[in-house]
């Protein structure tokens, strides 16, 4: 099956006062239609920047310096700015973290959604509102017509995030990048939205990249998982592989520190230290200073081992499956 989204060697850098920072470093992954890929990492690991880089939404002083982003086989990076804009929202859409901030507070929900419809499809305002209402129905919003006339502040956080997801769905895109869309919501609402997203991926065949720091969410939702650390993908595979038999010590640490994935009654282990600053990364493996398995060889760049369930590590926890 052809991948809906195929990212190859994506690299995004920021020219900061402290020096050049590579926030996304040679990142590659692919997502097939109808599948959900969890992109997991701590704050500052570059996972959100990866999401924005896919859509080409990096502002100065940032710059996407290398790589390909293939959506249905079209490389977004080679498109002219206006052609790229036409892909956004139509072929590849995005949902943001904070539903309180993603909707314009002074415009009606319906007007905002209708604008998103009409920018790609030449339809009447009325038809655009109808499409918007249908999209709200799809994400399970009751009394959709009424909600369209509301202003964002009149809706709850969960409702607003559903509106954002509905907006992303308006053009039936091949790919949706969801940047921590449930982090700001109550746990009960979070569950509802996750179930909704799972259903949508199955029904519409949309490929979803779920950017999150929450391994628990991803383990129940995602089909595949990529773990990011300091701008690189350090491990990738199916959800069963990565959660069930992690190969990278960092992934192991992440899993161990999630309460729900941990046997009860035992103290919760933590990864010592914190995310490195990208300005002056240590040479070799960036996880080295925090890694229990680190040896001298880790001062050199780690190799990528395995093809089915690859890990970027000198000392993976299990050898690559044959």
């Amino acid at each position: 099956m052809n991948a809906a989204l195929d990212v190859r060697g994506l690299t995004t850098r920021f020219d900061t006062r402290g020096g050049m920072v590579t926030a996304v470093n040679d990142v590659s992954f692919a997502v097939e239609p109808g599948r959900i890929m969890g992109l997991v990492g701590e704050s500052g690991s570059g996972k959100s920047v990866t999401g924005f880089s896919i859509l080409g939404l990096i502002d100065a002083p940032g710059e996407i310096s290398a790589g390909q982003v293939l959506v249905d086989g079209t490389d977004l990076r080679t498109l002219a700015p206006d052609a790229l804009r036409r892909m956004r929202g139509r072929r590849v859409a995005m949902v943001f973290q904070d539903p309180m901030m993603t909707l314009n507070p002074v415009l009606r929900v319906g007007d905002q959604m209708a604008m998103a419809v009409r920018v790609h499809d030449n339809v009447s305002k009325r038809a655009a509102w109808d499409r918007a209402r249908a999209a709200l129905d799809t994400v399970g919003i009751p009394a959709a017509a009424e909600r369209l006339r509301a202003y964002p502040h009149q809706l709850s956080g969960g409702m607003r995030q559903r509106v954002a997801i509905a907006t992303a769905l308006l053009h039936r895109p091949s790919v949706i990048i969801a940047d921590e869309p449930t982090t700001a919501l109550d746990v009960s609402i979070q569950g509802q939205i996750l179930a909704e997203v799972r259903r949508l991926a199955d029904e519409t065949g949309t490929a979803i990249v779920w950017v999150t720091h929450d391994l628990a969410v991803v383990s129940s939702l995602a089909d595949d998982i990529c773990v990011m650390y300091a701008g690189r993908i350090v491990e990738s595979g199916t959800a069963e592989q990565v959660i069930g038999a992690p190969r990278h010590p960092y992934t192991r640490g992440l899993i161990d520190s999630v309460p729900s994935l941990h046997p009860p009654g035992q103290p919760l282990p933590q990864i010592p230290g914190s995310t490195p600053q990208l300005v002056n990364l240590p040479s070799g493996c960036p996880f080295r200073p925090r890694c229990p398995r680190a040896t001298e060889i880790c001062a050199t760049d780690p190799p990528l081992s395995g093809t089915d369930h690859p890990a970027l590590c000198h000392h993976p926890l299990t050898e690559a499956p044959a």
């Binding site: 900061t16 920072v21 701590e42 704050s43 959100s48 920047v49 973290q97 901030m101 940047d179 921590e180």
Partner: protein
């Protein structure tokens, strides 16, 4: 840091939490940030030079232009660069009374600085007092005080100053008083705004629950937090006060003609704009403009540096 670009910005955890910064290091950071703008540095230098020549006017100028005994009618309307009867060059020419324009400008500038700084400082003190009182006591005191402040803010300062000067009469002290009344409201509003935000925080509650006297809580705890935005307001208001004094004097309701003032100098030069004696109005205006613009540019930079959104 790249993470500030992510929407919603989950605060990135830096490995070493920033050490508690001392006052000295904060000041050093402020200056290093401030100095990154060449425009602001030049402006600061210009202000320093202007302040030096104006406060040193009696020593750096060849004549006291407001001492009638020094003036010679024979020297009237000399063009810039001409040597007058005093044997020295009138670099910016002389006016209708034979007054050396450069000297007169320095003396006028001194008045500008004195009025601007004292009006600014007094308005700052009055404003802080009103704003802090309102924020600290709350309730009816707050409602009444801030009502008056808001009402005043909705009136343009120039109008208020105009009426006050008309009531108080002409003179340096009168102008300063009028400017203070017209301007304190800006400080009061800023103080009150920041202080009400701080008031809600726990540390003020904690300080209040100790037996410290009220004024100590106000001065030691609230004031330091209110100061940064006030510094910005102060620069703007000093510049505005200087411009207002010049305007009032130009309109003939500010300083009497016997007092040196850039406004009166320009007003005097204004009588001759249909002749070629344009130096009479252009040069004092240039000095006034440079002073006010320089102060505003410094204020702009201070605002930029103190704005938390611009701190990296």
């Amino acid at each position: 840091m790249p993470d500030t670009l992510t929407p919603g910005g989950t605060a990135s955890a830096t490995p070493s939490a920033a050490p508690t910064r001392t006052r000295a290091s904060r000041l050093r950071d402020f200056w290093s940030d401030f100095g990154r703008s060449p425009v602001a540095l030049v402006s600061l230098a210009v202000i320093a030079v202007l302040a030096f020549v104006s406060f040193g006017a009696p020593w750096v100028t060849p004549q006291d232009p407001y001492d009638m005994a020094n003036l010679d009618w024979m020297d009237a309307f000399l063009r810039p660069g001409t040597v007058g009867s005093g044997g020295y060059t009138h670099w910016l020419g002389t006016d209708n009374a034979g007054r050396d324009m450069l000297s007169a400008i320095f003396y006028g500038l001194r008045t500008s600085f004195v009025i601007g700084l004292s009006a600014g400082a007094l308005a700052l003190m009055v404003g802080i007092t009103v704003g802090l009182t309102a924020a600290y006591f709350g309730g009816r005191t707050e409602a009444l005080l801030m009502r008056i402040v808001d009402l005043q803010l909705s009136m343009p300062a120039i109008l208020l100053a105009l009426v006050l000067v008309a009531m108080l009469g002409q003179g340096v002290a009168q102008i300063i008083l009028a400017l203070v009344v017209a301007q304190y409201a800006y400080f009061a509003r800023t103080t009150h705004g920041t202080a009400t935000v701080e008031r809600g925080k726990d540390y003020i509650e904690a300080a209040r629950s100790t037996p410290l006297p009220t004024w100590r809580v106000l001065l030691r705890h609230l004031l330091p937090n209110v100061l940064p935005p006030l510094i910005v307001v102060a620069t703007v208001q000093v510049a505005a006060a200087i411009a207002l004094e010049a305007t009032l004097s130009f309109l003939g309701v500010g300083l009497p003609l016997t007092e040196p003032s850039l406004g009166s100098l320009i007003s005097n030069g204004f009588k001759y704009i249909h002749t070629d004696r344009t130096w009479l109005s252009i040069y004092p205006g240039l000095f006034l403009m440079v002073t006010v613009v320089a102060i505003n540019l410094v204020g702009d930079r201070v605002r930029h540096v103190l704005d938390p959104r611009n701190q990296r």
